[in-house]
């Protein structure tokens, strides 16, 4: 199987595990009546914004690999640097947002209320499951593919690391949004 398919499978598996773990974290209540308007909270808007920015940056990084091929992307300094910078941008945006949200919780300001803080506190439950599934898919795929060769090319390790980082970083806002869906 090609590197692109393994990357897609690993990320899909990771996000699938995130979704499943978040669903299991709390049972859903009955749906609200149709005439009840449900306004978004600031935490929901921040989470949607974070997922959107991460998706755009991750799509740009994936496009680089798709257009140039995996080996050419990693063997060409400019392409490898661009790929890395795009993923580092996700790390900076999502990591910075997470640190800022934690500061809001500790400061006890008016941005988050008690329900927001409860949902934010429960959201990381899904992150570990997502990372483990992503890693497991990579390990099975790489072990099967390179069993005879006895060695894994370095750029696969690069992809394993960054796919786990992306699942971890995006896992928090995904967990938050699913938390709100569970009331």
């Amino acid at each position: 199987m090609s590197i692109v398919l393994w990357s897609v499978l690993a990320l899909a598996g990771g996000f699938g595990a995130l979704w499943f773990a978040a669903r299991m974290a709390r049972p859903a209540g009955p749906p609200l009546p149709d005439d009840v308007e449900m306004p978004s909270t600031p935490l929901q808007r921040i989470s949607r914004w974070g997922i959107g920015v991460s998706a755009v940056l991750a799509a740009a990084a994936a496009s680089l690999v798709l257009m140039n091929g995996a080996e050419a992307t990693f063997d060409t300094d400019g392409l490898r640097l661009t790929f890395t910078l795009l993923l580092v941008a996700i790390l900076v945006v999502m990591g910075g947002t997470t640190i800022w949200l934690r500061a809001q919780v500790n400061r006890g300001g008016g941005l988050l209320d008690e329900r927001d803080r409860e949902i934010l506190g429960r959201a990381p439950a899904a992150q570990v499951a997502g990372m483990l599934v992503t890693l497991a898919i990579w390990i099975v795929g790489l072990a099967e593919h390179f069993h005879d060769a006895g060695a894994v090319p370095v750029f696969y390790l690069y992809l394993v690391f960054w796919s786990v980082v992306v699942v971890d970083l995006v896992g928090l806002p995904v967990g938050v949004l699913l938390g709100y869906r569970r009331h």
């Binding site: 009840v36 209320d113 009331h183």
Partner: protein, 73 residues
Amino acid sequence: MPKAEISNRIRRLRFEHGEMTQQELSERAGCSRQTVVLLEQGRYVPSLSLAMKIARIFGTDVESVFELAEDDG
């Protein structure tokens, strides 16, 4: 173990207090409007401090706003 349900009169109290909006109540209580919506729908049980803040906004005690109903079934 008996199952405890907590109901509340927030919606009625809002209208009895000059048709106070959900937005105004949320700002005065220090919570989001979404939390007020869920409280009124009986989908969220507030902390003691939020319950006391809401009761104070309506100028009454907590038990006049929130009611504990025990169901032995």
